[in-house]
Subunit: 368 residues, 4 copies
């Protein structure tokens, strides 16, 4: 029986529409377009409601994939989930990470990186941030895990992209007589992340169904999973799922490890994750080892208490800079410094994703 | 012969006008108002031209000192330099660090933290960013070093606060027929930092006088000192200097150490500085040691090349968030994570302060 | 029986702490410090949660008043309401408007500008945005109207300053076991404005008590008054009221007129208000008439439908610039152009203040 | 001999990639794709260096045109200039204005709207903001005017899109040993606008060649044309020109009129321009006349003196919001209020475009 190997390519981008590094991989024969199963990227917008760099990149990527695969861009979008987080604050560097599934000659002797994907059905504006969105997400996560051939316990990390609301979508719902969860579009992004995170957590067995209600979403932060990261954005209307784990049914040198982060200063979690993968990291990853790291995925949040380890932060009271931009810059600073590389996926709303006030991280690397 | 000891109090602030923690130190008899020689603080404004938190704090502080010392607020301002950097992006926490000089019973057996201060003469708007400002700064740094009783080689760190320009000051100069170095007020802040940094570097012997010209200021980044940090702001018109070093002529358990930072990811410099002071720091400073750290002063800049270690950053192309805010958040993230404390003084314009594209840091702590 | 005259001084400010123009009025004998009854100002902060220009100006003003009146700054704050709106976006110009009540030799033959003030009792964080805040505001407005000697029908305009919430205040309430209306500090500012506006509207008879509930606050925009303008800010904890009207019991050449604005493009309302005061305004107020205008107070909001006259606006979806800043800039543009003067008080959250999606304006001028 | 008529379609957009309204015009047979000669649009980005909405719209538009015309997107870009200004601050509404040239049965009896286009040769990064860019722009403007069949005196308005610089382009130039005019990318946008404006002004005879030098660009504001509007952006590397005038050689009911604006409060210029076109406008354009207006193009700037009519503005000292965003919001507020429509093209850098501190406007409408 054939096995599969997950290959990962982390590519720098010169701008939100710059898919030329991927095009070059195709042209050089290093990657078959048909093997691409998912894309996770960090674009240089504000990461908020009006961040159009996500849509711009998606349009550019799907044009390339469509041309290469002989399908339409719309068909490409239904095939390859593209999870983007806007905002390369501070030292962060815009990049895309391409995940490919290629046939492997033989199974690995150690558990290897597994990947599975799924798309949830679209939800109307009034479902966003509520149980309806949670349920469709939970089902889609189940599909993705199944597609990866993973058991729930083998899942290390689930990346979700969930839809946001715009004023136009809210108005459209209201004209239908439907009631949206909030008219504040930034708040809607947070509630969408919350519902999706709890949906994934439900499937992973990290939260109990009995405690899940509309009012718990975005509110009861004792409910969380440290294996789920959700980004939201207005450029999609259906939820996209990418599930990762390590499995003996997969091949190749890559492995994924994850850790919860207790708070935004939890530098120990970063070092520990690298240690699990056999990568020395004090004071930073050595130049020779940097190439072994294929993806770093970080989730965090401005601590809602307004303090970190007892010291007041000002992220939540800032009317000039959105709190998510603040936290991405800070977490990006520490993760990039250790990795020696600014191409870190840092996403800034960690509701129900890792411990309250903290977050989580996952690293994909050539393990030793 | 009496010796002196430098005492340092790092106090959290609930807002830019919150001087109550200092007032409580006075009331509790833990600090004599007359012993206060300098204040360095981090307020929660934008750190830019229109950051009025610096002025608001200064007014609040000087009202308190004046009341305690039986002098006027204007007299207090002429006595105690107050160097503020606005911007507590990310995990940074607003705080003030109070430096006091108290008589000591006996000299220490090891070199101890020394401090000296000075004020430069006010300069007109047209001097900002030019040799005229550089020269007055150089002389004032000399005075501050002398006041600390330090030799030039014993100086570890010089903190400078330099004046900025507003549209009003520029217009005033133009009406006098004077020509300012730039009409861009953000650029004026950078050039003021540049001139002041080179002035200090000249006195410290870190640059050669022969290479200093108007056009080198803000331009020739091969000229720098790794012992100077400059903040600029529109709330002052004369330059303020605080010089630090370690000396056998001073007493007490505190010592200061500094390092250049090669770039914004130079986490090794932070660990090395702590190591020099005898503070273990992997993966982070242990809770028991955190109290030994009295001040962390970091300078950095968005690398003007537009890349860090070959990876593109987006700080300089961002029209929404000033580049200084980006870099402060990133550097604050890594320094705070190691220290376990967000009360880090991070200042974001490192022209001629440390290597180009990098910066520097200094730590004051109970050494062992 | 003596009568009173309201005198109004509109003074430009060089910065948030610049009270020198008022000091000069005092020194020149043009204004008795004891006659000052209220201040309304526009400072150059962001107008949001972390706008410290309001507090900085208040501190500076109260220091001046205290010195002039021989009282403490705290006593001055309990005597003179100081309603500030941060944010001088676009062509708006920072200024303070000083309202003084001076004895008048004789009554005017026509109704003249009347003014009355009041302070509401402080409310805890959990009252903000709820009926409890509404009720204390309603009572305070009644006091202010009574102090002005006005009947409810004579009231033309009520200016309110209402408290906001910070993360620290929210946390403090939670630690007491109290539940705040929202943990989003920008949202709290909006709900505080809402509760205060409905409180004033209740006293003015513009809304019916039967329809007022916690859930109507900030939600049911069919409830509004076109005679109330509320600013909120974290620098106060008790609500401040300034009531204006025209009355035969008052003297002097000034009069106030107001109009609702149907939407943010309602330029006709501005021209009509000026017309009521006998000031020709097409295409703009003539230079000779500009000095007759003593205060222009505008309230508006980004239309929550997301469109204005059917055309989409982007204010509510902007993660970079707060929607209030957008609308202040736009309304300030049109009002300033007609007046030929950027010293317009434009405040950006018009919940329950004028028609939904619109707002209101009031002008104080020498009428003819 | 055949004549031509200029048709103008102003289309609302639901987002930067929303070209569906144009697609519908094509599908409905109301517009031939081959007749489209130019597009001017207002997208909802920040209007600064990192505004990718301009590129996103351009990509989307060119995909549509290419599909309709049976050419490639790259060929479409070489055929149809697409001048975009980012930033729909305040009440401004995202829209695109499509200009089409269609054969007309007979010449008009009155001068009718004429249009001509041209593309300048690409310039390297080091030419931006200097005489080299000025010269190529001047030549391209000459071509566009000639293509419209206009005499220089018949030209009412020239719209220019000029290239900007990114950190990457600056670095690329430096690596070639070339010296760019500035490393500040926001400043580069201003200097690019300046050089292009003076180039157009030279061709129009509004400035004298003798006074044009590198150092005059962006500096000597006594040099200007009131018939030129320039936007700059990083999404193009060659300058695009659209020239407008009124001519008896053209047909149709449309006409263009323009006026300088003395300052940002010059509301009289707006009313006067509408009056010239026979559109009553006090207090605002009546609903019945709104449809006659096809395009409103406004240029303005934050007055570099820091004051408007003697009153201080704060646009140039704001580190949080770019000054161009401020002025667009203010000018958009007044123009939209008069027009009763937020679909105004307001562009915010008016260097050498209209009087210093002011700007200009042009209106295209069915004249009477």
């Amino acid at each position: 029986m054939t096995s599969f190997e997950t290959r990962v390519f982390r590519l720098s981008m010169a701008g939100p529409s710059d898919v030329s590094p991927l095009s070059q991989l195709f042209d050089a024969g290093q990657l078959e377009p048909a093997h691409v199963v998912a894309v996770i990227g960090k674009t240089e917008g504000n990461g908020g409601v009006n961040d159009f760099t996500r849509g711009y990149f998606t349009q550019s990527l799907m044009l390339l994939l469509a041309r290469q695969l002989g399908i339409t861009p719309d068909e490409a979008m239904l095939r390859v989930p593209c999870v983007l987080s806007g905002g390369t604050e501070g030292v962060l560097s815009p990049h895309m990470t391409i995940f490919a599934r290629v046939p492997a000659a033989q199974r690995a002797s150690a558990p290897a990186l597994a990947i599975g994907i799924a798309f949830a059905d679209p939800v109307p504006a009034e479902a966003v941030g509520r149980m309806a969105q949670l349920e469709v997400t939970a089902r889609a996560v189940e599909v993705a895990i199944g597609e990866a051939g993973l058991g729930v316990d083998e899942v290390e990390f689930v990346q979700v992209k969930a839809p946001g609301l715009t004023s136009a979508r809210i108005q459209e719902a209201r004209e239908r007589g439907a009631d949206v969860v909030t008219a504040d579009t930034n708040r809607a992004m947070a509630l969408s992340r919350s519902a999706a995170a709890l949906g994934a957590a439900l499937t992973l067995g990290d939260v109990s169904r009995a405690r899940l209600t509309d009012s718990a979403i975005g509110d009861d932060m004792t409910l969380f999973s440290s294996r789920v990261s959700v980004s939201s954005g207005i450029e999609i209307t259906r939820t996209e799922i990418i599930a990762f784990g390590n499995s003996l049914r997969w091949s190749g040198p890559l492995r994924i490890a994850h850790r919860p982060m207790a708070d935004a200063l939890d530098i120990g979690a970063i070092h520990a994750t690298l240690d699990e993968l056999g990568i020395p990291s004090f004071p930073a990853v050595a130049e020779a080892d940097r190439g072994r790291i294929k993806a770093v995925l970080v989730k965090g949040m401005p601590d809602p208490k307004g303090t970190i380890r007892g010291f007041r932060h000002t992220m939540l009271d800032d009317t000039d800079i959105n709190a998510q931009r603040h936290i991405r810059a800070a977490l990006g600073g520490v993760a990039s410094a250790i990795m020696g590389d600014g191409r870190i996926f840092v996403s800034g709303g960690a509701e129900h994703q890792g411990p309250d006030g903290g977050g989580l991280l996952a690293v994909i690397a050539e393990a030793r």
